[in-house]
């Protein structure tokens, strides 16, 4: 009965025998991996070597002062009180006042500066990771959940942060105390010191036994947390759909399942990592007993004095405490490493390749050529998304991409913007392969209106300014007017200074598109890419901004995707796509005369 009662407090183990075995085998690799991770963190910490040295000096100072205080008090008791000698007592006590003040101040300062060092390190890592995210190719983001990535930047970082705050000082002062204590012990009784030292190998072995498990568990725990975060992020972003389909209960069930897994892993991480201090306590207590017992037997034979045993027992405590602290810190370090490993995994991702990175800035004329371009998103995928595409848009021309959804129109735009690189064929701008151009140059002269308008948590003004950071307020208002967004912006509570919340429902999808168009208008590009830019805008408004768009497209090379054929009428070139292939292309009139696919599309769409 007791057994079953006890079992209700124990979860199914997370680690299998194979896990532990394999971790034994991989021990060498793992150790070198830890060293690498620690080395990388150290590199960032080391940037503030000056402060670090001061912290160390403060630790040394406080260690000395904390030894000096009791020593002097002992002296007061022995030399003054015992002997009834009261002259000089005042001076001693005054001296102690200063020593203790110094102790408090040095403790405060070492922590004060260490927090600075630690938080700066975390800041460096966090911003480093963020900039790294900006360097990664779109394919990286296609394969990962947002919430999981977010977890690395907050939960994992938090782990590193709390460890850094305490570990450094702890480790250093522990080592100091340890060395000091051993020296004193050795001078008193080498044999008893040897006895005390006996626990070190045991400690070493048991710590290794435990950390072999905790290392893996901490990592699993952070992964489970990441997965949970991913699920939360997705559910919360899609809350409207969850509600509309009344799937709340299922989401709760799914959440509970992931949450239960996290609980199980967390439980075992707690249990194993909790074993370290307890083992240390055991060793501590038993070495205490050994000193007392063996020391007592030795004392019987007159090898050691009673005083030595008393002092030694105290020193044993002093000796094991820093060891205990160290092993505890080791645990913290392990969990921080688990977090850091996940952070560095992203830091090591391959960045967007940019051959022409150092290319000097030059103006793009806007002559766009696709030569036999084929592309697939997933290399393992059978059917390419687009295949053997050939076309040529001359400088200043407007080309319209038409075709059913999924035909590959957006893909062509994404290739032109180099979100992806084609596996086959060449894309040339001004007769140069775009791979040889810098993305900086390329994109700085393009403007986009993407299929899904996105607004940042910022003011309306700043959202439009995103297209051109130097734009003046007048330019912004002008662009908004052209995009027919001015009137609705003015009806917002604070006009252009209205702060848009990310999820705020007060701006409609169509209004978001108007703002996106204004954003592109401010950018003033050589090449303009419009991907269903007006899909959520009513046709009356669309007609009104049509003129502005046309003016914008004049003199610029434009590539336009539209499901409504109205945009097509001003196009110089029409590209008809079907299932990833370019099935027709040419001037409007020619295509109509040809009475092919485009002609049929026109026929069907005309009222």
């Amino acid at each position: 009965m007791i057994k079953s009662w006890l079992q209700s407090y124990v979860y199914e183990p997370v680690l299998t025998k194979e896990d532990i075995k394999s971790s034994k085998k991989k021990k060498g690799a793992r150790a070198s991996n830890w060293r690498k991770v620690l080395g990388r963190i150290w590199k960032i910490v080391d940037e503030q070597r000056g402060l670090l040295v001061i912290v160390l000096l403060m630790v040394i100072l406080s260690s000395i002062l904390s030894l000096l205080g009791p020593y002097l008090i002992g002296k007061i008791i022995d030399d003054h009180m015992m002997k009834g000698e009261y002259s000089g007592l005042k001076e001693m006590i005054f001296g102690l006042v200063f020593i203790y003040m110094g102790l408090s101040i040095s403790i405060f300062l070492q922590n004060y500066w260490m927090i600075g060092v630690a938080q700066h390190t975390v800041y460096q890592m966090r911003t480093g990771l963020f900039s790294k995210l900006q360097q990664l190719p779109i394919t990286f983001f296609d394969k990962r959940q947002h919430g999981e990535l977010m977890s690395r930047m907050t939960n994992d970082m938090d782990n590193i942060s709390s460890t850094l705050n305490s570990t450094f000082i702890q480790v250093f002062s522990s080592v100091l105390t340890l060395v000091g204590t051993v020296v004193v012990m050795l001078t008193m009784s080498p044999f008893l010191t040897f006895l005390t030292m006996l626990i070190i190998p045991i400690m070493f072995i048991s710590t290794r036994w435990i950390t072999r498990r905790t290392g893996k568990l901490f990592k699993t725990q952070q992964q489970a947390l990441g997965a949970l975060n991913g699920m939360i992020e997705e559910t919360i972003s899609g809350q409207r759909v969850v509600k509309a389909f009344s799937q709340e209960q299922r989401m709760i069930d799914e959440f509970t399942e992931k949450s239960a897994y996290l609980r199980r892993v967390g439980y075992w991480a707690n249990v194993y990592s909790g074993a370290i201090p307890k083992t240390m306590n055991l060793l501590n207590n038993s070495s205490f007993a050994i000193v007392a017992g063996v020391g007592g037997l030795l004392a019987l034979k007159g090898y050691v004095s009673i005083g030595t045993i008393v002092v030694f027992a105290e020193y044993t405590r002093q000796f094991t405490r820093p060891l205990n602290d160290l092993s505890n810190q080791f645990n913290n370090v392990l969990s921080a490493i688990a977090g850091a490993e996940r952070v560095f995994a992203i830091m090591d991702e391959e960045e967007e390749q940019d051959q022409g990175k150092n290319e000097a800035k030059h103006t793009i004329q806007g002559d766009v050529k696709f030569e036999d371009v084929s592309f697939r998103y997933d290399v393992e995928e059978d059917a390419p998304t687009i295949s053997h595409i050939n076309f040529h848009i001359q400088k200043g021309q407007t080309a319209a991409l038409v075709g059913s959804t999924g035909a590959g129109k957006t893909t062509i735009m994404q290739l032109l913007a180099r979100f992806y690189d084609s596996q086959q064929g060449k894309i040339l701008i001004d007769d140069r392969p775009i791979q040889t151009m810098s993305r900086q140059n390329l994109r700085s002269q393009m403007a986009f209106v993407l299929q899904e308008p996105f607004l940042f948590e910022a003011t309306v003004k700043d959202n439009i300014r995103y297209g051109q950071l130097q734009a003046t307020d007048e330019e912004i208002i002008d662009a908004a007017k052209k995009a027919n967004a001015h009137d609705f912006i003015m009806s917002l509570p604070d006009g252009y200074d209205t702060f848009l919340t990310a999820d705020g429902g007060e701006i409609s999808q169509g209004q978001k598109q108007l703002l996106s168009i204004a954003r592109a208008l401010v950018a003033n590009p050589s090449i303009l890419l419009l991907d269903e830019a007006t899909s959520s805008i009513d046709t009356v408004t669309e007609l009104a901004i049509q003129e502005a768009l046309e003016r914008l497209m004049k003199g610029r090379t434009s590539l336009v995707i539209a499901h409504r054929l109205n945009t097509v009428r001003t196009a110089d070139l029409i590209l008809v796509m079907e299932e990833g292939k370019l099935v027709e292309s040419g001037m409007r009139e020619k295509l109509i005369a040809k009475k092919g696919i485009f002609y049929q599309m026109l026929q069907q769409s005309i009222l």
């Binding site: 007392a292 037997l297 986009f448």
Partner: protein, 577 residues
């Protein structure tokens, strides 16, 4: 804190066991000096090796006992803490799921995420620690203090004088730091939000080359987090030095007066040594105090943030609370009666005095300029937002009478922004009806005109989509989310401009396929083409119903409709020339 404590209560058994085990450990530790004295006094001094062996072994056994207690403590403490966190997390998630849209939008999504993970972890950690080590320090202080008074109250009183001040000081620090740590958690929210925003808008950021700009924006946010964290942590670092200086000075005072008393032979030297020893023990556990207070303040800040969510009473949907008494009298009928609506905390009417009726199987098109209230109208039907003025009848029953879950079961809502979840295509389509068979799914996908495309995907219905999945075009996403809605065979189908990315051919095939469904359809659209064969067209202008009727009727009666038609005809004509 009260609400959070409720969650601890469930685990009071395991928590108490863990606590007892901790006491066992502590007792062993505290008795060891006594045992050593025994060995010295009875063994060495009396030259009795038997006693030394005996008490030496007892010490060893006690050490083992403490070890066992300690290890078992890990199990119970781990059990209590992990379960506490688990319950808390689930309760939070459930609460959030029960929110109305209005309540939901009060919290930025990133903040909800932080509360569900980071904040829960903070509180859990404190709970775990307090079951293992935290009480140790206070107990040591208390025990030592009592012993000191026992030894010599007249000297120990000097220790006592300082303590109330220290207690007040610590309370103040706790108060102050809770404020600071709440600020830190808000900064964490902000950092989280910024990352989320960038992940969502990665293409836009790249397109406009704003990587560096975003990074510098992020630096500001991260810097604010760094500053606030540092200042909160630094605040806590005042505790230990101040405690130390006060206690150490008290000790010096004791030495000073103690020396005087010895001179007058009022006190024994051993007593002074003992009191000094106890004082040192007290100061020795002070570093622990600073640690405890830091943890506690952080946890309190986090607990408050979680309570903010858990304590929301109104603004929760009536899913369970509201059993549906009245039975709907008609099927597939929708009536708006003088409905006016403004979003919470705004003063502008989005919809004004809207009235219309649609019968079963009708197709109603809703048209109007951008921002005229079309999406809002649909969202009122799903009861995302509650109508304050006028009423909406679904199947003859006022929306307020409906059980939200039952209501939404008969509605198929296709949002404007097609949203897919991580998983396979099959998972996504059956998302609203998990027990659907493959045939049902294929019927739905065929109706939604997406079956052929799906068959072209590498693993057809088992292809992964969503945040981790393959690239789908906007139109494909829209059609998948349409299939998801049709699969449930709802009485009402609400399309919120959800065919905007479909080409005309596909779209008309879609409407043809849906014509067989008996569902009442409300279709927000921009296209006259789509509206043309609707039974009724509702025309919104700045939130007011400006006209209502069939295509032919509106063509004669409504100038706005004529203008819309004209705009499209214009474009049509021109594309025809």
């Amino acid at each position: 804190m009260k609400t959070i404590f409720q969650y601890i209560k469930t685990y009071k058994v395991s928590a108490s066991i863990a606590f007892m085990l901790m006491l066992v450990e502590l007792t062993v530790e505290l008795t060891q000096p006594l045992l050593i004295r025994k060995i010295i006094d009875d063994g060495i001094v009396e030259k009795d090796s038997h006693t030394i062996w005996l008490w030496g072994s007892i010490m060893m056994l006690l050490a083992l006992l403490a070890f066992l207690a300690g290890i078992s403590n890990s199990f119970f403490a781990g059990y209590a803490a992990q379960n506490f966190a688990y319950d808390l997390r689930n309760a939070l998630f459930q609460k959030i799921q029960s929110f109305t849209m209005t309540t939901f939008l009060r919290f930025p999504s990133a903040s909800l995420i932080t509360r569900l993970t980071n904040d829960v972890s903070q509180v859990q950690q404190v709970f775990f620690m307090s079951l293992r080590i935290m009480l140790r320090a206070p107990l040591v202080v208390l025990g030592s203090l009592i012993m000191a008074f026992y030894v010599d109250a007249s000297l120990a009183i000097y220790l006592g004088i300082g303590l109330p001040f220290l207690a007040i000081f610590m309370l103040m620090m706790v108060k102050k730091s809770i404020v600071q740590f709440s600020a830190v958690q808000r900064r964490v929210d902000r950092v989280n939000r910024m990352i989320q925003e960038n992940l969502q808008a990665m293409r836009l950021v790249k397109a406009y080359l704003r990587g560096v700009y975003e990074a510098s924006r992020f630096e500001k946010v991260a810097n604010a987090l760094k500053k606030d964290t540092s200042s909160a942590l630094r605040l806590m670092e005042y505790i230990q030095p101040i405690l130390l200086i006060v206690m150490n000075l008290a000790m010096l005072v004791i030495l000073w007066f103690g020396a005087g008393q010895i001179q007058k032979e009022q006190t024994q030297i051993g007593d002074i040594a003992a009191i000094v020893n106890y004082t040192m023990r007290i100061t020795g556990s002070f570093s622990m105090f600073a640690f405890i207070i830091t943890l506690f303040s952080r946890a309190k800040a986090s607990a408050d943030r979680m309570e903010e969510i858990l304590l929301i009473e109104d603004g929760v949907e009536n899913v369970i609370l509201h059993p549906q008494i009245e039975v709907p009298s008609k099927k597939g009928e929708l009536v708006f009666e003088n409905v006016s609506f403004q979003y919470p905390r705004t003063d502008r009417y989005v919809l004004k005095n809207i009235s219309f009726t649609c019968k079963q199987g009708e197709k109603v098109a809703i048209m109007g300029a951008t921002g005229s209230g079309k999406s809002t109208l649909l969202q009122l039907i799903t009861n995302f937002y509650e109508v304050e003025e006028g009423r909406i009848l679904v199947d003859g029953l006022d929306l307020k009478e409906w059980n939200v879950e039952k209501l939404r079961q008969i509605i198929g809502y296709v949002p404007q922004r097609a949203l897919l979840f991580t998983g396979t295509i099959f998972d996504n389509i059956t998302w609203g009806k998990t027990d659907a068979t493959l045939e049902e799914v294929m019927t739905a996908t065929k109706q939604a005109q997406i079956h052929d495309s799906v068959m072209h995907f590498p693993n057809s219905y088992q292809t992964r989509v969503g945040q981790k999945g393959v690239n789908l075009s906007g139109g494909q996403k829209q059609r998948l989310s349409i299939a998801r809605a049709i699969l449930r065979k709802p009485e009402f189908l609400l399309f919120d401009d959800s065919t905007s990315a479909l080409d005309i051919k596909t779209e008309s095939a879609l409407w043809d396929a849906l014509a067989d469904e008996r569902a009442t359809m409300l279709v927000v659209t921009q296209k006259i083409q789509t509206a043309k064969d609707a039974d009724q067209i509702i025309l919104l202008e700045n939130g007011v119903l400006s006209a209502c009727g069939t295509h032919d009727e509106l063509m004669t009666s409504s100038t706005l409709y004529q203008r819309i038609a004209q705009s499209q005809a214009d474009l049509g004509e021109k594309s025809d020339d």
